[in-house]
């Protein structure tokens, strides 16, 4: 199986961390189910054009946090994640995405209340669209 992971090589976020986060999001979002086999470290490294050292680090972290499980001689599989854990990942991801948007606005020197106004505007327009 292949994974829809997209790395940003421009980002300050280390690559292994980007891999980790995106796999977690795929698991938490229910896009890859428990017991699904993941690509081997070499196969994923080739697909993402990174070294096996980086991919291995991401897999090791994910394993430590209980998201995946490596079975000797068989491969790496998605673990059974509780609903609470999935929820935590989702909350963290949304939080992180909003934080990045706010940081972008701060780089344009917007004040906090101006950012809040933009945010309200975005929400209102989304709401309008959904109701229509």
């Amino acid at each position: 199986m292949t994974l829809p992971i997209r790395l940003s090589k421009d980002s300050r976020e280390p690559i292994y961390h980007q891999i980790e986060k995106q796999i977690k999001a795929l698991i938490a979002g229910g896009h890859i189910e428990a017991h699904t086999p993941l690509p081997s470290i070499r196969a994923l490294s080739k697909a993402l054009e990174v070294s096996v050292i980086t991919t291995r680090r991401a897999y090791q972290d994910l394993e430590q946090q209980g998201f995946i499980q490596t079975i000797q001689g068989k491969g790496t599989f998605v673990s059974n994640i509780s609903a609470t854990e999935k929820q935590e990942v989702k909350v963290a991801e949304v939080h992180e995405t909003i934080l990045q948007a706010v940081e972008a606005a701060r780089r344009y020197d917007y004040t906090f209340s101006e950012i809040e106004a933009i945010f309200q505007k975005v929400l209102a327009s989304l709401k309008n669209n959904e109701e229509a």
Binding site: K9, D10, S40, R42, K46, E49, T54
Partner: protein, 283 residues
Amino acid sequence: MNAIAKISHLEKIIDYFEIGPIDLTIEPGTITALIGNNGSGKSTFLKMLMNLAKPYRGNIQLFGKWVNGPDESWKQRVAYLPQKQIGFEPFKGETLKEMISGLYPNWDESLFQKIIADFKVPLHKKYNALSPGLQQKLNLALTIPRNTELMILDEPTNFMDIPSKSLLQDILAEWMEHGDRALLFASHQAEDIQKLADYLVLLKDGVQKGVYLKEDLLENYQTYWFGHALTDTHEIPGILTQEGNQLISDCPPETEKALEAKQIKWHSRSALPLEDIIALLLS
């Protein structure tokens, strides 16, 4: 885990050209790309690994054995594809296979057949009747199934078309899945390096510029764009090149710190493509 290859202070002098000193360790499970400009000593270095050329100074150990010692049993554990095969011309592919497969105890016949089928190599034709691309495909089919712990390929994708190159990348990645093998390959192909290499060894005119983990190279070279041309940059560290409103840094954390201290804001920041980084390091 024990290193597959240990190369220390390796030097060679050919006429007035000096190669080295080269220091390199190859661990099982890793792919190392050897990169350099033409005539940088890559092939000579690989020949020294195979004890086909004598170093002037330094040591090479493969599987814990000195390669220049009397015991050459390590050769069975290494598959080496030189840039030019000597002596293959009068033979058919099927004859070459019979000759070579017998020398390697781990010869994988089904892998050989798969590579021959994937690359559509006619085995009944004499080697010298094949096009350079087909010759190279046959060479690879005669090398990869030896299933040795170390494989050394000197410019494996020479003369190959784009679909074959990508097929070879798949074959090599799959080859790495079995056991604790290591691959060392010399290449000018950015695509092969990007897809396969864990480590990059750069040789510039015989001198080893360094051994780099691929991501470290990508993280250490960044381009910045500014709203206006930069004028006073002489106090900013890490600047590799600067032209108008664009600068390239080879030490982004220090460059950024200095820019922030001077209150110079960049509007975009982007990693340099691997090919550009290699070009910078080799020019």
